[in-house]
Subunit: 353 residues, 2 copies
Amino acid sequence: MNPPPSRPPGKTGAFGSGAPTIHDVAKAAGVSIGTVSKALNDQGRLREETRVLVRETAARLGFRPNDLAQALHRGKSLTVGMISSDSFGRFTMPIMEGLEGYLAGEGISVFMCNATDDPERERLHIEQLLGKRVDGLVFTSRRADRRPTADMTHLGVPTLFVYAQSHDPMAACLLPDDQQGARDGVLHLARLGRKRIAHVTGPDRFEAVVLRQTGYLQALQQSGIDNYHMLLNGPWLETWGHDAVAQLFDHGGERPDAVFCGNDQIARGVIDALRERRIAVPGDVAVVGFDNWDVMTMATRPALTSVDMNLRGMGKEAGVRLMAMIRGETFTGITRLPCSLAVRQSCGATSAT
Amino acid sequence: MNPPPSRPPGKTGAFGSGAPTIHDVAKAAGVSIGTVSKALNDQGRLREETRVLVRETAARLGFRPNDLAQALHRGKSLTVGMISSDSFGRFTMPIMEGLEGYLAGEGISVFMCNATDDPERERLHIEQLLGKRVDGLVFTSRRADRRPTADMTHLGVPTLFVYAQSHDPMAACLLPDDQQGARDGVLHLARLGRKRIAHVTGPDRFEAVVLRQTGYLQALQQSGIDNYHMLLNGPWLETWGHDAVAQLFDHGGERPDAVFCGNDQIARGVIDALRERRIAVPGDVAVVGFDNWDVMTMATRPALTSVDMNLRGMGKEAGVRLMAMIRGETFTGITRLPCSLAVRQSCGATSAT
DNA sequence: CTGAAAGCGCTAACAA
DNA sequence: TTGTTAGCGCTTTCAG
């Protein structure tokens, strides 16, 4: 349609391909650059005629305003940076998706950087991003635990930690409400009539693990279950699910009728191990996971009920807040966003209670 | 260390936080801005004394050159865009990691955009990125199949398709060598003495599936196996692995002694189904997967041997080529990068043949 | 060896 | 209603 925007003969434009500038449009339309600017940005009073003429000319030349120049002038780059302290993991992704999706709608682009737990790389990235005059900065890590990195809260740009924490207690921080998520998962089991609910989870040096344990205990109490509780900590692995089942079911004693798991991988191990023992899920034992990771929840038989941290929503919320911060509002401290429960067959009640 | 770079009293700087400009440095050091520029960029002849003075002053003020201004001047933004036509999936991630990691070393930042199979969103993203004057563009999709989107090869900036294809046969394109990968996987099985190797894979509307099938057949031929071949197509799911095993093992007839799978999820289903039938892996049947996805390969028992597409390496190679293209070199057509084989227990030979 | 000034592309305030 | 111009922060000649 448009002819390849080849530069009008004369001086070679700065940018490689020679994109037409506002100057070119002005010349082609036979008006001044001020007029072009007004016509294109719907400002000032202009004869409709001129406005149309300019618009058409601009379209014909394939003119696209140079955001760099605009940014330089306005002092806003319409750009933010996101730095993942860990590789782009399974948790970072949906956050990124939510963030980017929201910001794209606001005309903001996102620089994505990966620091892989290397403070030096991280420093470099920050340096680069500040050089590019990003309007805001988002830090993410794999697990929602304290970041090892030194303080970076006074970078001069609005900064937000998402699924990550800062050393600075005043830093704005978005986290899932692990405690509430766990509580809801366990309450669901209790409401279905389960009386002996075990909790098989990760290492308790993770804050998330501690919070989920607290939620688990709260739910038991809240449900009037005071004669049974069982907490097992181990690695975040399927094999740990297997081992935990061995501990729970192979040694006589009172067996649980439900297992609430710290993540979906453990839950998968638990379900597989139960099947090997011909213990019916959810008939004999109900299972609930955490993360709602489709790869796992769809693969277990039966499909896995799981707590969802709504990471995409968290990413979007991060975008909303970052924009607010850029506009001058100020956020501080930790905000926890609610988890929800994705109910499937493994807990014995697909449709409500 | 550095005092928060508060603007020297006087006019308020453009960018929110009021980062010091080269002007501020010049004033503070009592020299001209030309001198500052030279001192900071090691250009022209300058008295060592002045150079040091300027440097110190700049450091003291926390001066960081404004890349936007620099970009405007040089006509290079030191920025590239990456657009994923699908959500940020498991395949996009390592590519992104490789690309970003390499480009960060070159001082280039990467805009990450997600178009989620929505052509309109994609158009918007391209528009935005071109407005930001990215020096290059990378397109990615989830599966290495033809993109539905209309031609976008004449955008005026170097464009590269990675793990994705363009309609334009001249477009530069980086893909894994599916055929070679499959061939190597099957050859490995043959070398271990397997004679009846089945291939359980995805739907054959995927080009990758067809290529892998071709590689499979090549390997059989190359190994002198001409009395057995078995091709099964189904969805990319674990459950399909289960079903395929039922087809292969529950109906009498000649049973395979190895299964080469189209991806790791299918492989996992196969291994689980075999175990349920008390068929030993790798004793009775060897299994090889495709993707080398750690979540799967580490979770199967025994651990899964799998073909690795080296996506991170592909991302890095994309970076290398994009840089070359930006410098004026030109690439066209499809380049296929070799796959490797990650050998584990499921094929019966961990340490070499 | 250092300073002054033009210009990258755009916007906004001011003139005409 | 339209044109002119002064910057935004930086690099790069060209004078001094």
